[in-house]
């Protein structure tokens, strides 16, 4: 068990390093001179050269890449922002809690609502409630996140005036962004729960449990649900990554100053170190969550780590 966990963690290192190389390379070969964009149009040639020299932008590709990796790995230094001049790591550290809070509560919300929805649909298969929830989940996966956000603002902020349409500090400000970000995940989790539960409910051992006179609630919660959980957990861990990516859109709509908005601003100003740092953070978070779920599986289901 422990060996499996250690092996998986060690395998993560080359993946993360490769992600860094890929993102660095994509941005390195992006046309356009970041110095000129950072300094503006009305600037002397000397100032541009000084800027390029101070960020080492004149060095060959491999030298720059090596320096970036070396500093990141051995000094946890992701470089400095071209625009704000501050360290990327401290900019990220300021924004990470907001994004994590948004993604975390969205996962919690979509799980806590999505799983019971799926279970109820599976128990009452083909009922009116089932059809209604199925329709809702179909709409949920077919609506773009940003449009859902706009509709929520329109309904709950403009017309009803219940929640503000900006910010993410107070509880009432958090409602709409979390609803928006969890919308499609909630739909996906509910759908997977329904199909996974249906599969289990029709299996022989559930019939046995019912035959021996077990109460229906115990059959569902104790016998069926644990076995239906593996695919559900896979989906939830995948949704976490989707949510971290989707938070970029949600943060843009609700003007939330998280990592996503930081990255969008950086893309507009060609602030490459910030973009690299943001992608790195989200990829590490995503990989760690997937890793945790995989290790949890191995704890629950001993057949998994044998292969």
């Amino acid at each position: 068990m422990l060996r499996y966990a250690i092996r998986r963690i060690l395998l993560l290192i080359p993946v993360i390093l490769s992600v860094m190389v890929i993102i660095f390379t994509i941005l390195y070969f992006t046309p356009g001179d970041p110095a000129r964009i950072a300094l503006g149009q009305e600037v002397t040639q000397e100032a541009i050269e000084a800027f390029r020299a101070s960020y080492g932008l004149d060095d060959p590709y491999l030298v720059q890449l090596g320096r970036y990796l070396y500093r990141a790995v051995f000094h946890l230094d992701l470089g400095n922002s071209y625009i704000m001049k501050s360290a990327v790591s401290s900019e990220l550290a300021n924004r990470i809690p907001t994004t994590m809070k948004l993604a975390f509560w969205s996962v919690v919300f979509s799980t806590v609502v999505g799983i019971p929805m799926g279970i109820i649909c599976a128990i009452r298969q083909y009922s009116i409630l089932d059809s209604f929830v199925t329709l809702l989940t179909l709409l949920g996966v077919s609506m773009p996140t940003f449009w859902m956000g706009l509709l929520f603002i329109l309904a709950f902020s403009v017309h009803l005036g219940w929640f503000p349409s900006m910010g993410f500090d107070t509880v009432s400000e958090m409602v709409l962004p979390i609803l928006t970000l969890s919308g499609s995940s909630l739909a996906i989790i509910a759908r997977i729960t329904r199909s996974s539960m249906l599969e289990v409910i029709h299996s022989d051992y559930i019939r046995t449990a019912r035959a021996k006179g077990q109460k229906e609630s115990v059959v569902i919660m104790k016998h069926a649900l644990p076995n239906a959980m593996i695919p559900i957990m896979t989906i939830i861990s995948m949704q976490f990554g989707m949510l971290l990516g989707g938070s970029i859109v949600t943060e843009a709509i609700f003007s939330i100053s998280g990592v996503g908005r930081l990255m969008l601003e950086a893309i507009n100003t060609r602030d490459y170190p910030i973009i690299q740092g943001g992608v790195l953070f989200i990829s590490i978070a995503f990989s760690l969550i997937n890793l945790t779920v995989d290790i949890l599986y191995a704890c629950i289901d001993h057949r998994i780590h044998m292969k």
Binding site: L27, L138, M143, P144, F146, M242
Partner: protein, 284 residues
């Protein structure tokens, strides 16, 4: 061979015909393709045609879905926008289908070290959430329709590669492949003539669902200002332009979103129906 594959498709078609949602999806998509092809004939106005006397007017007989901030007809822009969305969806999926299919086929067929290297590269790409990767690539490539297609297309390569590899692995051990090899068929011939036709079912299902995903991504990127730029009427871009008027002219934010949602919904219906029809053993 020919008889067996024929009956598979025939059976699938019979099953698909019974699925009303899939038929509905197909009809909606058919209409959409029709609208996109004949946009010049159908559309009441041009997508760039401005009328300064009619700025941000709500739906009326003259402008069925109203006009935007430049007095352009929203319905006409949606009609022309269907061209962009369908193009992006199809071309992006074609890119990921060909690249991912080739990678998966090579990895699955040759196995060993090649398999290991190719699939590890796919794993690395999967470590970056897809929408994030699409954002970074389209930021690097710059705005424009073709760049948008490439950015969206690259992001689903691993999905197709894994699917193709799994199919190839399940087929390459079969006896008819051995027979083909014994007859001296080259690797390329075995992959293209003998293996590929047997992988078609999952690839078709995945492609249909991926078109939906590609259209969503394209709209998202355009909404963020990275994809297709104004004045081209991309649906996501139209929503982005409508944002400042959310409080005063809500209809501007509703119709383009509806267009996206109906398209995605139709593709999902058809994709789910195809999956049930082509692979009845697999449950949803």
């Amino acid at each position: 061979m020919a008889i067996k594959s024929n009956s598979l498709w025939k059976l699938a078609f019979i099953r698909l015909r019974r699925n009303y949602l899939a038929i509905l999806g197909f009809i909606v998509l058919f209409i959409l393709v029709f609208v996109a092809i004949f946009a010049d004939q159908i559309s009441p106005y041009g997508y760039e045609q401005q009328d300064y006397m009619m700025i941000r007017q709500g739906p009326s007989a003259k402008h069925l879905l109203g006009t935007d901030e430049f007095g352009r007809d929203v319905l006409s822009r949606l009609i022309y926008g269907s061209r962009i969305s369908l193009q992006v969806g199809l071309v992006a999926v074609a890119i990921s289908l060909f690249a991912g299919g080739a990678i998966g086929a090579i990895a699955g067929y040759f196995g060993g070290r090649i398999d290991n290297i190719l699939m590890r590269i796919m794993d690395i790409q999967l470590a970056i959430p897809t929408i994030l990767l699409a954002i970074v690539i389209s930021a690097a490539l710059g705005p424009g329709l073709f760049n948008l297609m490439v950015a969206v297309g690259i992001t689903s390569i691993p999905r197709f590669a894994r699917l193709m590899r799994a199919s190839v692995l399940s087929i390459k051990g079969m006896e008819f492949i051995e027979a083909a090899r014994a007859m001296g068929a080259s690797h390329t011939r075995i992959i293209l003539i003998y293996i590929l036709p047997n992988c078609m079912a999952p690839l078709i299902v995945q492609s249909t669902l991926s078109v939906a995903n590609a259209i969503l991504f394209a709209a998202t990127l355009s909404f963020l200002g990275l994809g297709v730029q104004p004045p081209f009427p991309e649906w996501g871009g139209m929503l982005s332009a409508a944002r400042p008027y959310l409080r005063t002219n809500a209809y501007l934010s509703i119709f383009p979103g509806l267009a996206i949602m109906i398209t995605i919904l139709a593709l999902n219906f058809l994709g789910d129906g195809l999956r049930d029809a082509l692979d009845p053993k697999q449950k949803r």
